[in-house]
């Protein structure tokens, strides 16, 4: 698995819903090596923003060398706001592919995503064999994104919204409980409270669960120890109960980490 620093160029960008952007980048080297669940560190063309923005790969078109990133602008003056202004032709540096990625040899799996944790599950769906279900939690109907893509990639898509404006009113665990048949594995990405609820549910039901984690990053390659998450056991690399999200993750077996 070789990571590279690649100068990518923006092919196009558009808003999917207020504050959520869909960015296509030409980055052939990274696209050739990347797997679902991996991410890239995006560097901005602005010396005030020196740290990377880790963004998951929502789409990997290795043939055409194209990466698709779907991300949320977090606030005014943020790096993601700056990124959202980059237009076709803008060049920027990427470091990637980073992280371990999701396991893909799982049949009858459910992918479970919440909010801005949804994008990486799209590429994952394409890689999973057999029947696959997508359970997606959004804030409300007015803040949907990628739904059409999921409808194509999954055999079944179920939606929960916080305000009940689309699908069921509730969360992704409610969706899981409502499934006629339990999935054989769950692969998830989303906010920490969602991951915690999933972990409790999966333990209860005895379903293997993988979670994709988030943490602030600097190096992205395991050297700075900035992005650790508490692990259940002493970790071989750190020799303490810390795992590096960037290098040991971002995807962990739920039992490995203390959520």
């Amino acid at each position: 698995m070789t990571k590279v620093r690649e100068r990518a160029s923006v092919l196009g960008q558009r808003a999917l819903c207020p504050g959520v952007y869909d960015l296509r980048l030409l980055a052939p080297q990274i696209a050739a090596a990347a797997r679902p669940g991996q991410f890239v560190n995006v560097f901005l063309n602005n010396g005030a923003h020196i740290l990377p923005r880790p963004i998951s790969l929502c789409g990997i078109d290795s043939e055409n060398g194209i990466l698709r990133l779907v991300y949320r602008v977090t606030r005014e003056g943020s790096g993601t706001e700056e990124l959202s202004r980059y237009t076709a032709g803008t060049e920027l540096l990427l470091l990637g592919p980073l992280g371990n990625g999701f396991p893909t040899a799982l049949d009858n799996a459910a992918v479970v995503g919440g909010g801005i944790g949804i994008p990486p599950l799209l590429e994952l769906l394409w890689a999973l064999p057999g029947k696959k279900t997508a359970l997606l939690g959004y804030r409300s109907k007015s803040q949907l994104f990628l739904l059409e893509d999921f409808a194509v990639a999954a055999d079944e898509v179920k939606i929960a919204t916080e305000d009940g404006s689309l699908g069921i009113r509730g969360n992704v665990v409610d969706l899981l409980r409502a499934l006629p048949e339990k999935p054989k594995a769950i692969l998830s990405c989303g906010p920490l409270p969602m991951l915690r609820a999933l972990k409790a549910y999966a333990a209860e039901e005895g379903i293997p669960l993988w979670v994709s984690m988030e943490e602030r990053m600097a190096c992205g390659i395991g050297a700075c120890l900035g992005c650790i998450t508490e692990s259940a056991e002493v970790d071989a690399h750190s020799n303490v109960k810390n795992k590096r999200v960037c290098a040991d993750g971002p995807v962990f077996r739920a039992e490995e980490v203390v959520l």
């Binding site: 070789t2 990571k3 620093r5 560097f43 010396g47 005030a48 923003h49 020196i50 740290l51 990377p52 606030r75 790096g79 540096l93 470091l95 943490e215 602030r216 990053m217 600097a218 190096c219 992205g220 390659i221 395991g222 050297a223 700075c224 120890l225 900035g226 992005c227 650790i228 998450t229 690399h237 750190s238 020799n239 303490v240 109960k241 810390n242 290098a247």
Partner: protein, 302 residues
């Protein structure tokens, strides 16, 4: 033209003045995918303690304009793992190895240094200036008397030349520099990070779990250059300059101010190839300006 980029620290020759700053380069393995370690003057390890340290809770990192805050809290696997895993890795390369040493108490520092007596390590770097560890950090590093005392105690037991790393969070860095010199340091390195804080105004809480963190990166470069310049005129010891170096030009600035060698830290995070690029860029500058020996540049601006 035949140019020489060799510099010497405490009688030990480095093929070029470019080192990595402690804590930003792990023990070299991760960055060896991007940088030929053979092309660096030295690799400086993350702080190594007598026993494994878990460090601070997360978030440990924050971005600031042109810089960053970190509060890693000296997480490290302990000296045993360092000797078994990290050092053998580093010894595969033709570069100098500097072990950054940390502790919660003088005894702990001495313990690490003793464990390293027989190890194939070129230098020890005493980290008495990490602002993220209350016991072992700031208290030692900002008081001249304490600096002299710990330097002397560690030096007594050290088999390798001793670098003392200075904190910039002081009124007069030449005081702690002179204290380290008096205590027997062979080399000084500066600067460690400046204490900073960031607050999230929407959540109304500190961005870092540790509240404060150490500021590094380009933002601090002018402070670091000034402190290197001041120390160069206050002590006889060779200096390793660091703080915000991200280009060969930044490194040369530090050398002209009085540093014999330089360390590249935070810049590794936004350009994993930077350390090798800085080394190459320094050589190019020597060529371009007709400077045969890099040592002509050390402290040349006064």
């Amino acid at each position: 033209m035949n140019i020489s980029t060799e510099v010497s620290l405490a009688g030990i020759t480095l093929k070029n003045p470019v080192m990595t700053a402690s804590g930003t380069f792990g023990a070299g393995e991760e960055y060896s995918e991007f940088v030929d370690l053979n092309k660096l003057g030295a690799v400086v390890t993350k702080g190594v303690a007598a026993v494994p340290w878990a460090g601070n809770p997360t978030p440990r990192l924050a971005e600031t304009p042109g810089g960053m805050l970190n509060a890693i809290g000296l997480q490290n696997p302990g000296v045993d793992v360092f000797l078994e895993r990290d050092l053998p890795f580093l010894k595969r390369f033709d570069t100098r190895v500097v072990v950054n040493v940390c502790g919660h108490s003088e005894e702990e520092y001495v313990e690490v240094v003793e464990r390293l007596r027989e190890a194939p390590v070129d230098f020890l770097e005493l980290n008495i200036s990490c602002p993220n560890v209350k016991e072992g950090g700031i208290a030692f590093g900002t008081q001249a008397k304490a600096v002299e005392h710990i330097t002397r105690r560690v030096k007594e037991r050290a088999a390798q030349p001793l670098i003392v790393k200075l904190s910039p969070n002081v009124t007069d860095i030449t005081e702690t520099a002179r204290a380290a010199e008096a205590g027997g340091a062979d080399v000084l390195s500066l600067i460690n990070t400046l204490t900073g804080m960031k607050i999230d105004i929407m959540r109304r809480s500190f961005v870092l779990a540790n509240r404060t963190g150490g500021l590094s990166g380009p933002a601090v470069h002018p402070i670091a250059v000034r402190m290197v310049y001041d120390c160069a005129h206050a002590v006889k010891l060779p200096l390793i300059g660091m703080g915000g170096i991200s280009t060969a030009a930044d490194a040369i600035e530090m050398i002209l101010a009085g540093a014999t060698a330089v360390s590249v830290g935070t810049a590794n995070f936004y350009n994993p190839c930077v350390s090798e690029e800085v080394a190459a860029g320094i050589a190019a500058y020597l060529e371009q300006t007709g400077t045969e020996d890099i040592r002509e540049l050390i402290g040349a601006v006064r």
